[in-house]
Symmetry: C2
Subunit: 180 residues, 2 copies
């Protein structure tokens, strides 16, 4: 049995968990994901419980969340009643899933909010003889720059996703023109 293998995996799992915590993902969820990522065979709930030392409830909840994200899959083993879980291992696919989800849940709401904010001041009836006219104009300018930035980032991410490793090459070339 390879001790180094075990220690190497444990290290990766620990660090992946820490990173997840910095990105608003619970440490345990990230650790479970890492554990499945470094396991070539699907694991069951009890495997997760014993390897990460977490309770059944905790394992169950986090596994479900990961399934909902689409980062892991439920699989069944012939002749076994237990459910097993297998990881999506294509990192580009993983990136697409995470990007899509975070964009939907975090970027889109802020874009909608900015548009709403712009509307609110645009419809203001007192415009034209308002002492705050200057401030409002500056406010609108800033909101607009933010919106343009978010749209530009959307385009970049779309391009990356569109072709995975391949699309990335195209994007790199495109960006190279501006690099100098």
């Amino acid at each position: 049995m390879s001790d180094a293998f075990e220690r190497s995996r444990a290290l990766f799992i620990r660090r992946w968990g820490e990173m997840g915590a910095n990105w608003g993902i619970s440490r345990t969820m990230a650790e479970i994901h890492a554990l499945l990522f470094v396991s070539s065979k699907p694991l069951c709930t009890d495997d997760v419980m014993s390897q990460l030392q977490v309770s059944r409830g905790n394992a169950s909840m986090n596994l479900r969340q990961l399934v909902n994200w689409g980062l892991i899959y439920r699989v069944h083993q012939a002749g076994d009643r237990k459910e097993y879980f297998d990881c999506e291992t294509d990192v580009w696919q993983m990136f697409e899933i995470i990007t899509r989800e975070r964009r939907r849940r975090e970027v889109e709401p802020i874009v909608e909010t900015i548009e709403k904010c712009q509307e609110m001041v645009r419809d203001e009836p007192k415009r034209g003889r308002n002492p705050q006219e200057e401030d409002i104009a500056e406010y609108e300018r800033r909101l607009n720059e933010m919106l343009e930035f978010l749209n530009a980032m959307n385009v970049v991410f779309n391009m990356i996703i569109k072709g995975g490793n391949k699309g990335m090459k195209g994007l790199t070339k495109l960006l190279a023109k501006f690099g100098k």
Copy 2:
């Protein structure tokens, strides 16, 4: 006085705070940042306290953190002993600051960890007649894909940043066409 202006700004601040919370930034810190972003004039600690209803200590701590990140600046008003704070309003500059910092604190450690993990199994003496040989090979393959992905993302972010504020204006337009 423009009521719609006030309500519009309040909405933006609220949403920006919520978004920050999802990204591992404390709600208050994100709200202070938003408040300064939508204010054309620098604000002092008391302004922040009264507009966001937070304590002096809380305001002080979070303002300092924002200064440390480089997202806001300390400024002084002639004839006033108080310190005022002004926001970096160039969104591309903001993006560069955040990207640089998060990369240093979160991406680089995971890259180092992966390299360390690879080393650990490569140096394993039992290689060759290890029953886990297959699993280790698969493990190495997965680590390697992850590393390549992270490197590719690094390249993209470098290029976006390298263009800087000016180049980005052009890039935005170019990407906008590309996105259609």
